[in-house]
């Protein structure tokens, strides 16, 4: 089987939820292929920006989509936000991988138990499709330059230098631009509440 669709084809929130539902209902591999085709190349962009090398990226992409396959039945099909769900799975696996690497290199010295809970961060199960749509709408109403500043700073491994380079602005003004853009986004989110 090949991943259906080109990876450029957009996938809207309802369609994505329908695919997750098909996996949950009858292990639909075509549905899995479509999710993979859309999300895997984007997860690779995300992980690369977080500083992961090629083989870590491949492992984490596989593990993320295997988790989607296995946990589709636990996903809230009525109101869950698929992109946010997949993003948080991948993010948490990435955090977990970095922690294990550090812990393994330090464990002899510290003799700590291996079972400290990883920080759960925010529980993505609580984030609904409606909330995700609200964020999408707010981001869509920002001036293009502010939306770009946010996109670059959110995922960047070395955010400020990267933004300065991409936008051709001095490093010193990056911080205030990011602050301004996020503050504006927050105002819009408040307006849509």
């Amino acid at each position: 089987m090949r991943p259906a669709l080109s990876d450029g084809e957009p996938l809207d929130g309802h369609e994505a939820a329908r695919l997750v539902a098909a996996i949950a209902a009858h292990g639909d591999r075509q549905a899995f292929a479509r999710l993979f085709a859309f999300y895997a190349p984007r997860l690779k962009s995300f992980l690369t920006r977080q500083g992961f090398g090629a083989s870590d990226c491949d492992d984490l992409i596989q593990d993320t989509l295997l988790t989607v396959w296995r946990k589709a039945g636990q996903f809230d099909l009525q109101s869950g936000a698929v992109s946010t769900w997949i993003f948080t799975i991948c993010r948490n696996l990435g955090i977990d991988r970095r922690r294990r690497l550090v812990r393994r290199s330090r464990v002899a010295e510290l003799e700590t138990p291996e079972d400290l809970d990883p920080t759960p961060l925010v529980d993505s199960d609580l984030i609904s499709r409606e909330e995700e749509a609200r964020v999408r709408k707010a981001l869509g109403q920002l001036p293009a330059e502010q939306a770009e500043v946010i996109a670059l700073s959110y995922f960047g491994d070395s955010p400020q230098t990267e933004i300065a380079r991409r936008l051709g602005i001095p490093l010193g003004t990056v911080k205030s631009r990011v602050r301004l853009a996020l503050t504006r986004l927050r105002q819009l989110l408040g307006d849509f509440q």
Partner: protein, 217 residues
């Protein structure tokens, strides 16, 4: 409890993106457990990650990654992780700790000067940032100092003031350098703070100056 000093939007975004060091993430998470407003904003910042993921330019994948993933769909599922070993009993520090750090206490208070004590929390997965609890008696003035390292400080009990204002229970102080402090504990209650200190402890940083001789950095 009225929290007045919140994380900046950038800090919440980095937290939601998974980019913070483990120790710093624990401080932010502890703040979220004390502040509903920021808990909601952290959820928005997490949803932002999902929305931005959709918009990322797709990267080239190894042509065989899909087949390799497909081949693993029928693997037996890993047994769900057990609830974990029973936690060893931890020293009682005499205060209520936020849930995110409750299991991280390793040792009791250690004296570090008149009216001052600290304990270093267990964050073995973080090699860059130290996480400490600091306890300072009412009325005690910390030495004036410059500040050159990133530090996140969350007040768990009591209050202090410095040039930036009054910091009480739930307030988060975010330092990224260039600032000068003369923090003084105010009120009648002993002040307890949770602090993540990045990098090697610098002699001039707020908490670093106080605890570095004790934790060997």
């Amino acid at each position: 409890m009225t929290v007045k000093h919140h994380p900046t939007p950038e800090l919440l975004a980095r937290f939601a993106a998974g980019s913070l060091s483990p120790a710093a993430a624990l401080v932010v998470e502890s703040h979220l457990s004390m502040c509903d407003t920021c808990e909601g904003e952290a959820r928005d910042m997490t949803a932002l990650g999902g929305v931005l993921l959709e918009r990322l330019a797709p990267a080239d994948l190894d042509a065989r990654l899909f087949e390799r993933t497909l081949a693993r769909l029928d693997e037996p599922r890993p047994a769900s992780a057990s609830a974990g070993r029973a936690r060893r009993t931890t020293p009682d520090l005499g205060i209520d700790l936020p849930a995110p750090i409750a299991g991280r206490v390793n040792s009791g208070w250690r004296w570090m000067g008149p009216g001052m004590a600290f304990t270093r929390l267990d964050v073995p997965e973080d090699e860059r940032t130290s996480l400490v609890l600091l306890r300072i008696a009412a009325g005690r003035r910390m030495p004036t100092h410059g500040h050159s390292g990133a530090e996140l400080t969350l007040v768990l009990q009591g209050a202090f003031t410095d040039e930036h204002g009054r910091f009480a229970k739930g307030d988060l102080a975010e330092e990224d350098g260039d600032s000068h402090h003369t923090p003084v504990v105010i009120g009648t209650e002993t002040c307890v703070c949770l602090a993540a200190i990045e990098g090697r402890l610098r002699p001039h940083s707020l908490i670093g100056r106080l605890v570095s001789p004790f934790i060997g950095l």
